[in-house]
Symmetry: none
Subunit: 130 residues, 4 copies
Amino acid sequence: MNPTHLFSIATGSSEPIYRQLVDQTRRLIAGGQLAPGDPMPSVREIAGALAINPMTVSKAYGMLEMEGVLTRRRGLGMEVAQAPPRGHSVAHRVALLRPTLERAALEAGQLELDAATVLELFSTILKAKQ
Amino acid sequence: MNPTHLFSIATGSSEPIYRQLVDQTRRLIAGGQLAPGDPMPSVREIAGALAINPMTVSKAYGMLEMEGVLTRRRGLGMEVAQAPPRGHSVAHRVALLRPTLERAALEAGQLELDAATVLELFSTILKAKQ
Amino acid sequence: MNPTHLFSIATGSSEPIYRQLVDQTRRLIAGGQLAPGDPMPSVREIAGALAINPMTVSKAYGMLEMEGVLTRRRGLGMEVAQAPPRGHSVAHRVALLRPTLERAALEAGQLELDAATVLELFSTILKAKQ
Amino acid sequence: MNPTHLFSIATGSSEPIYRQLVDQTRRLIAGGQLAPGDPMPSVREIAGALAINPMTVSKAYGMLEMEGVLTRRRGLGMEVAQAPPRGHSVAHRVALLRPTLERAALEAGQLELDAATVLELFSTILKAKQ
DNA sequence: GTGGTCTAGACCACT
DNA sequence: GTGGTCTAGACCACA
């Protein structure tokens, strides 16, 4: 599967690239789009597809391995670990999304935008992604 | 005014503190909560209230001054510039918020959360902030 | 303090350099030669003194920080964490040394060297280090 | 002979498996436990007994062959070469062991363990191996 | 000055 | 082919 369909990197962001990869991988697993045992794209595939340095990808993979999210199979590549640390429940996935929404709400408040306007915009964006 | 009411700093975030300050100041001005001519809290006030280093605040102020968002008045401190670069229109404020919502939508998609669930959660958060 | 007095790198070894640094740091703390609150040599100091790349040192520091062995102080450098994970007891330090001695004993056995010869050699080496 | 009696592999070690095999084979020959003309276990025997990949063993054998330590006899397998490069003398075997002991002494020093304690522990371990 | 991140490119070990 | 490690050198954020 083409890694560009899995990952989306904001190079302009101050969020380090390797951290974006780590977080997105965790979300993809929590969301069930990556299942235990699934092979991950190779370091070079991701690096090529996203036009970033292989070492940056490698660093993300290293952290995910240390966390137990991914398993390294010598010479074969990385795969999603058998016992992903936590679960699949909607509650858990919502918990992972909450900080981002809290931040968006904070920004909306500072911009004095009313809830209805913000929700409508967000709704439009969400539907466009489908 | 107590700076802790104006600013909210996430020290754990990878977003640099000075950048959080700059972005939040811009939003507060765009949102009309800080009006042209308003005095800004002193570097020391902010640094003390948020328990961060004065130089971090100073750097944020320096950038805002360069942008023309703030004006430095010798011996008096910083104040909001007379002609804030742009802002105020709903369209402009919405544009400032859009990238954050785009990102939230991306994360929601990775977590396989449906739009209705996400919108309901976001709505709850937005109302709690009011 | 000159890092060459703290660290000794075997560049020829297959043990990665960053791992040698991690292990040696752990031992120096367990041995009491680095106490909680002590500043660590800067990345560039170590890199210069040992003639290795700063990123290699940085990687070691990053791992030690994740383990809670070192603490990062923004703009000031790394220091030994206040609550080093484990203790100082002789038993604990012996436990850290045991795997190396087990390995040495295995090699001695494979070389068919008798215990007396090996112990005498080891004794000589130990005294030379004092 | 069951290869598990000859070889001891630490799969968790950063020392590559093939290198562990090479080093241990050299030591077994230097120690006289493998004599010139002795047949070596087949690649598959070792791989199966140690639960490692046959190619890893093959690579180790290849290196030992290139060194002249082992000889490949078509259709018969590997055997210990007639003129093992060097070895046998106590001085030579001690020289092979010295680097490991040097490293152990370094680690003991970093752990602030005194020579007597370390020697006693090492003596115990050596005797247990006999 | 400090550490953090990234790149481009290299070599190694393993399948 | 896979990931792991290292180098040389760059820029950034922070004190």
